[in-house]
């Protein structure tokens, strides 16, 4: 601390009163000065110490600054290396264009290392060719052909074999290069490019020309560090290209697969397959060798060949020879180069000659199989040049071959299916004909009860059926039914039902009793239903046109509509529909089928139908409400009976706006008729003769041949005599004895019913035990009446009670 500071001591002259006091004052001052001096000295000592410390710090700072500068310099060097590497990495990340990446990289590295040349070699990059990119400056630039062959050099081979860097500071003295290289190339640094699994993908090299250069540790480590990203770029691009190629093949495979699944024309599929595969794989030929199932001979079914390649020829026999070279059941057989193929020794001379005849150098054959059946081979030829079929290619072709196998199998199945369909269609037609024949026996509507029918089957063979049965000339049974389901199976059940119906109609115990009839039919179907789940609905009504009486029973069928002629009402018959036929055993449902009875006047109509008429859908898919039918029946009330069924179908088509029928449609319209009648109150020969003459004259007037007059007269007489002799005598006491004759004339037929007031007779017993009802005991004086009736008339029937006889005569 400096001592030059002045200090002012305060002095008060007013206080100088004497010497002593002055002296005292001086002493005081001296004391103060002394203290002040001590304090200054202390300060000076402290300052000196501080100055020394400051000098030490300055030295240390200088040292730190130097160290920092050194460190900064090192850091700057390092970041330059990192910057370079980052730049490489960023470039690699931003592009898949390897050629561009490599070119930029060699340019970058060349500039950075300030070398004459920098290059990268990627062997077997594309189509077995090396990819080489080189940076060079000035006079050291060289033609591409020259550096393209670098991979053949000893140095390159050394690096790729050892997978270690090669550092040649002076080629003139280095053992590998001394005397081998041009003197211009003096220093070489070559580093292998290794991908993550240490697999070699190429090399990167630096050339210093003319002037020798000793490669520093930093240069070596930088190049080695750069080798990593470059290898990654190559690997990434290779993977990308592979993925691209897989994607392309996958696309092609999908295309072929969807084509195979999209068409059943096997030839079109195979034609396109060979063309697309041939183009995709750039092969000279692609063809399919199909093996004939019966002869085991192989033929070319489809072939694609490049424009400059001669096709082998479709349809020619072409036994695959190369399959002798592979294992049995091999996944594929391939030959890279026929001229270097050692397995050819397995072939005879002729076979080898045939292989050479194809001009192919490389061969590939992949079996076409499906479920272990060999259909043929998918074959490829590469002409003139060898070809190493890659695993990817083979695996891709195998995938296609597998699809082709599916296609061929599919084609064969289609062929079989078509054959089966043709057969089925033929059989369906036969079934339809058979059904038609079966049904035709019951479809004759020319009865004494006016009937009109409209029948629109949904399929060739139908599930709806009807049966019109003349139980007697004046008693007509009308059966209508609907078998569940449609098509052949329903038709088969219909066939079965018709057979059963025929049997049941033969038996009066069932045919004249609707509820008994339906019960028997239901039980019969139920028995059959053990093996299926079909059922049928049915309505059976018996119309007696003399009494105007209808008895009916319903098994789950839509109830018919009743249209009285003289009233403005149309209602459904209250027939209490029971369980459909065949669903349950009649023992299992209480009450069984109900028998209903109602009466009709002449002109009254009944409309019987199946659910195809009432369960028709509209365009929106909903059912048309059944009310339409009632309204339509009102509209058609005054139409002729014959027109009604078809008119109903037409109205339904209009209402449904042309929506296709979902089901069979069947309508049976019936009208109660008026009848011609004669009464025979007494057994008077001349009256009987007279009345019979009226009937016979009517018959003759309606076309009966005159020659039949005597027969008809005899028949009618016999019937009436029988009524008088055997029927009338048994008339109950409270009933007036009478005999009535009703007769009807239709086209070529006469029919009549003779009804007496008696209780009837056991006609079943009368005709029982007679092998032929027409047989007459010729020596017997009586008993000729019945045989005569059967002799004269085409049909003789009685009601179950035996007091109504029905006779039909046809001409």
């Amino acid at each position: 601390m400096s001592t030059n500071e002045s200090k002012t001591i305060p002095f008060e002259f007013n206080h100088l009163r004497d010497v002593d006091s002055c002296l005292a004052e001086v002493k005081n001052l001296q004391k103060q000065l002394e203290e002040e001096r001590k304090t200054a000295k202390k300060k000076e000592s402290m300052m000196t110490k501080s100055l020394q410390e400051s000098k030490q710090m300055s030295t240390h700072l200088q040292q730190i600054t130097q160290a920092l500068a050194k460190e900064r310099k090192a850091t700057l060097g390092k970041s330059e290396k990192e910057r370079l590497l980052w730049k490489l990495i960023e470039r690699i990340n931003s592009s898949f264009d390897l050629e561009h990446i490599l070119q930029s990289t060699v340019d970058e590295l060349g500039h950075h290392f300030k070398v004459n040349r920098c290059g990268i070699i990627i062997p077997n990059y594309k189509a077995n060719k090396d990819l080489v990119k080189e940076f060079a400056i000035g006079e050291w630039k060289r033609p591409q052909e020259m550096y393209s062959n670098v991979s053949l050099s000893v140095l390159y081979t050394t690096v790729t074999k050892t997978l270690k860097p090669l550092i040649i500071n002076d080629t003139i003295t280095h053992e590998l290069t001394a005397g081998h290289l041009s003197e211009d190339l003096r220093s070489i640094l070559m580093v292998p490019l290794l991908q993550h699994n240490d697999e070699l993908v190429g090399v990167v090299y630096l050339h210093q020309c003319r002037k020798q250069r000793t490669w520093t540790e930093d240069e070596f480590s930088l190049l080695q560090a750069a080798a990593g990203p470059i290898a990654t770029a190559v690997e990434k691009t290779k993977l990308f290209n592979k993925a691209k190629s897989w994607a392309a093949r996958e696309k092609l495979l999908n295309k072929l697969t969807s084509r195979i699944r999209g068409t059943l024309n096997i030839n079109v599929i195979l034609e396109r397959t060979v063309a697309e595969l041939g183009q995709a794989l750039q092969t000279s030929r692609c063809f399919i060798n199909i093996i004939d199932d019966k002869t085991s001979r192989e033929k070319i079914s489809n072939e694609y060949s490049m424009t400059n390649t001669k096709p082998l020829g479709i349809g020619i026999e072409n036994p695959l020879i190369i399959n002798k070279l592979g294992e049995k059941n091999a996944d594929y057989i391939s030959i890279t180069d026929i001229s270097k193929e050692p397995r050819l020794v397995k072939l005879n001379e002729k076979e080898i000659e045939q292989l050479y005849k194809t001009d192919a150098r490389a061969f590939l054959a992949v079996p076409i199989t499906f479920q272990q059946k060999l259909f043929g081979w998918l074959c490829f030829h590469q002409c003139n040049v060898p070809r190493n079929w890659t695993n990817e290619e083979i695996s891709f072709i195998q995938s296609v071959a597998s699809q082709v196998g599916v296609a061929i199998n599919q084609g064969e199945m289609v062929e079989k299916l078509t054959e089966y369909q043709t057969k089925l269609s033929r059989e369906l037609k036969q079934a339809a004909q058979l059904q038609s024949v079966l049904l035709s026996a019951g479809t004759d509507i020319k009865k004494n009860l006016p009937i009109a029918v409209s029948y629109h089957p949904h399929h060739n063979v139908s599930g709806d059926f009807y049966w019109i049965c003349e139980l007697a000339p004046h008693v007509i049974g009308v059966l209508i039914g609907d078998v569940s389901g449609k098509g052949p199976a329903a038709a088969l059940l219909t066939g079965y039902i018709i057979g059963e119906i025929k049997g049941l109609l033969e038996n009066q115990a069932t045919s004249w009793n609707p509820e008994v009839f339906l019960t028997a039919l239901s039980n019969s179907i139920y028995e059959q239903n053990k093996y299926s789940d079909f059922y049928a609905t049915a309505w059976y009504g018996i119309f007696d046109i003399i009494k105007g009486k209808v008895i009916c029973s319903n098994a789950g069928h839509p109830s018919p509509y009743l249209i009285p002629r003289d009233q403005d009402i149309i209602n459904k018959i209250n027939d209490e529909p029971g369980v459909p036929l065949g669903l349950l055993s009649t023992n299992d449902f209480v009450g069984g089928f109900t028998k209903k009875e109602f009466y009709l006047n002449p002109g009254d109509r009944t409309i019987i139908f199946t659910d195809g008429l009432t369960e028709q859908r509209q365009l929106d898919g909903s059912f048309i409400p059944e009310a339409w039918l009632k309204e339509a029946l009102f509209k058609l009330k005054n139409h002729k009976l014959d027109d009604i069924p078809e008119a109903l179908i037409k109205i339904l088509n209009i209402i449904s706006k042309g929506t296709q029928a979902d089901d069979d449609r069947l309508i049976v319209a019936v009208e109660m008729s008026k009848n011609k009648k004669l009464e025979f109150p007494e057994n008077n020969q001349s009256i009987i003769n007279e009345k019979i003459k009226i009937v016979i004259d009517d018959a003759i007037n309606n076309g009966m041949p005159k020659s039949m007059e005597a027969s008809l007269k005899l028949g009618l007489l016999e019937a009436i005599y029988n009524a008088f002799r055997h029927g009338l005598t048994k008339t109950p006491e409270n009933t007036k004895p009478h005999i009535e004759l009703y007769w009807w004339l239709k086209e070529s037929s006469f029919s009549c019913s003779v009804i007496d007031s008696g209780v009837g007779f056991n006609w079943q017993k009368a005709i029982k035990n007679k092998s032929n009802i027409k047989d007459i005991a010729i020596t017997s004086e009586d008993g000729r009446g019945l045989p005569l009736l059967f002799e004269i008339f085409n049909k003789v029937t009685w009601n179950p009670d035996g007091n109504e006889i029905g006779l039909t005569l046809k001409w």
């Binding site: 020969q685 005597a710 027969s711 005899l714 010729i778 020596t779 017997s780 009586d782 005569l788």
Partner: protein, 105 residues
């Protein structure tokens, strides 16, 4: 029915006309059957027989039986075609000889 019965030597000649029906059958039998037994031949002339029913043919069967019992032969001659047809229906032609009106006796 019209009935005319004549004895002609060994034959009984019966001419029947009109209709031989249920109502006349008994009358036919009552008139003819008592006369059977004295002739070796019974001839029924059917030229005027217009119609016959099962009872009528029954009556003829009875006649045939009587003839057979006495050993006489029954023959129906000059039968009209319509009647002949009816006789065939009742198989009468299998018992007696039946000759049509246009056939030689």
């Amino acid at each position: 029915m019209k009935l005319n019965i004549e004895d002609k030597e060994d034959s009984l000649f019966i001419k029947v006309g009109g209709q031989l029906l249920y109502s006349e059958a008994d009358h036919f039998k009552e008139e003819i059957l008592p006369k059977i037994g004295q002739h070796s031949m019974v001839i029924v002339d059917c030229e005027d027989l217009e119609f016959i029913d099962s009872a009528g043919t029954g009556a003829i069967v009875r006649l045939w039986k009587e003839c057979r019992m006495v050993g006489a032969e029954l023959e129906l001659i000059r039968v009209l075609p319509e009647v002949q047809k009816l006789l065939h229906m009742t198989r009468l032609h299998q018992l007696a000889k039946v000759t049509g009106i246009d056939e030689a006796a």
